[in-house]
Symmetry: C2
Subunit: 339 residues, 2 copies
């Protein structure tokens, strides 16, 4: 693995003293290391020097005219840069760039976060999406779909939230799960002996998410469940035609789209279609559970709530904010029921 470590160090030079003492001090460190220096013309935008070392090290030293000193230090992973450790207390953990296993999986609300992943356990490009299962030291295996953290073995909190957080009794109930390919919901609900239908299983989970799915994905039919490998929409339409209803519909297909142009976006169109059909197959006293998105995506969540007000069958809803361990952000879940 020939990854590159990229350290960033930022110092606010609040007084002229800082500037007069810090910069020459840094320069002398870089000169000692026999880095070849280039001083750049910045057109009056402060001071900029780059240093290149024999072993491929690169240092970018910049003093912005408003007094911010930034240092970038790039070196190969096996290069020892211990002698630069004393430069600043304000040094962040290095960005690791170009590593075989990517550690950066930004949150839904767009923050940069690093995971402790050490291995890609499974990877496949299906017709629908890129599927990865990554191993994290603290979260166990993590299912990542198209770059979004979907569920980790640590995330029982997700499964509990999308099944009503222990407030429901599923014994003998008719339950329809849309999505849920990781098997987490199924594994929890079968403990309560409901009747159940589920669909669209992701192969990798059966093998690598066993702390989540147990043995429920090993066969397509169990005592109280069947797994259908079908598209959701035709199946829901068939149930509507047959007049079949469910006590619970659990939609685990996808998070609310982040885009905020619901009139144009095909993701929103799909969401509305599934939502409408789901509510139509819901028993009059039934409950519809689904995930929302990051609590910070207020606009997308409002749009979703607007959609809930536009269904062919009027519904009420409530929401709950839950901490799902591997998400590194607070997540909103919805419960809806017929008025």
């Amino acid at each position: 693995d020939m990854a590159v470590r990229h350290y960033t160090l930022d110092i606010n030079l609040s007084t002229p003293v800082d500037s007069a003492s810090v910069v020459p001090g840094l320069l002398s460190i870089f000169h000692e290391q026999e880095l070849s220096e280039t001083i750049h013309d910045t057109n009056g935008h402060g001071y900029l020097a780059t240093f290149v070392g024999k072993n491929g090290r690169l240092v970018v030293l910049r003093v912005h005219s408003h007094g911010l000193l930034t240092i970038d230090l790039q070196c190969h992973e096996d290069d020892d840069i211990a002698q630069l450790d004393n430069v600043s207390d304000q040094k962040l953990p290095a960005l690791v760039r170009g590593a075989k296993v990517d550690r950066y999986w930004p949150t839904a609300d767009g923050r940069l976060v690093e995971y402790d992943v050490d291995e890609v356990v499974y990877e496949e490009d299906s017709a629908y999406q890129n599927i990865k299962i990554l191993h994290s030291r603290q979260y166990g295996n993590i299912l990542v779909l198209d770059g979004d953290v979907n569920l980790a073995e640590s995330d029982l909190a997700y499964t509990q939230a999308i099944t009503g957080n222990g407030r429901e009794n599923y014994a003998g109930k008719e339950v329809l799960i849309l999505g849920g390919g990781d098997g987490g919901i199924l594994a929890e609900l079968v403990k309560q002996k409901p009747k159940m239908v589920t669909m669209k299983v992701i192969d990798g989970c059966k093998m690598y998410m066993r702390r989540t799915c147990g043995n429920t994905l090993d066969t397509l039919r169990g005592d109280c469940y069947q797994i259908l490998i079908e598209d959701c929409v035709p199946l829901l339409k068939k149930y509507v035609q047959e007049g079949r209803t469910f006590d619970y519909v659990i939609n685990d297909l996808t998070a609310i789209p982040i885009s905020t142009s619901p009139e144009e976006d095909s993701m929103w169109e799909f969401l509305r279609l599934i939502l409408d059909l789901s509510v139509r197959v819901l028993h009059p006293k039934g409950k519809y559970f689904t995930q929302g998105n990051s609590v910070n995506l207020k606009e997308a969540l409002s749009l979703y709530e607007e959609q809930l007000g536009k269904l062919s069958c009027p519904v009420d809803f409530q929401k709950e904010v839950v901490c799902v361990p591997s998400y590194l952000e607070q997540w909103v879940f919805y419960t809806a029921w017929k008025k």
Copy 2:
């Protein structure tokens, strides 16, 4: 705020085709923007070019000899770099450097994580530590001590874990809290009407962590608690001399030190002293609760468990891994009791 945005883009040039097409394409983008180019001599360590723009933009384009292309793009926060958005899908959220409010508070296990903090609510340098209270959109106010995320208003899970996760009955019990200056433990326990002593209150929390502490920090004495502004060690020694015991001792002073040379480190010495005194004031059937550290710091946790085996009074212990929302990592909590 004159912060600098720093975008990083990394592309693995797996085939010569990539290299032949990607690099000239990028160069033409940078040339169009009238950036002045410097090509550096890398002593055979691949290709390196830097580009400086009139408005202070800086681009560093590097092709490492093993085929990794890294691009760094720095610009002022108010500079529009939308035209570079199409360069790569593999672009991470920008590092924001030199901002008034720092968004990066690395985890205890050394990972780079960005918080959604938008305001420094309170800041003070006490004789002991730097105290900050930051506002997060999703976690509420966050108490940060010497750069470590300590507790957020979202973190009832922490308070529950360090008080036994609902398995204890505190009614009428003698409880000693060491630390707990944020008031979270006190606020939870007074609901159960114990007798209680606590110490060392951090002033800022009273005002800015009210979702955590309620009104318990407003007065130094309540119906069932008193707050002592004293050092722990002399107080514990006095209790030992008096033969006073407690049903529960809750040590919320500090996490386990990360350093792994417990023979030399004064933090470990302090920890051992407090631990020993705490167990000595514990009722024979009492329980000692404390936080550990990140579940990933296995060596530090093992060392702590070694210390538990060396006390003047032998103890047994168990541990529990808990997700504290604002920590962005799994956290270990300990319960110990006299053998």
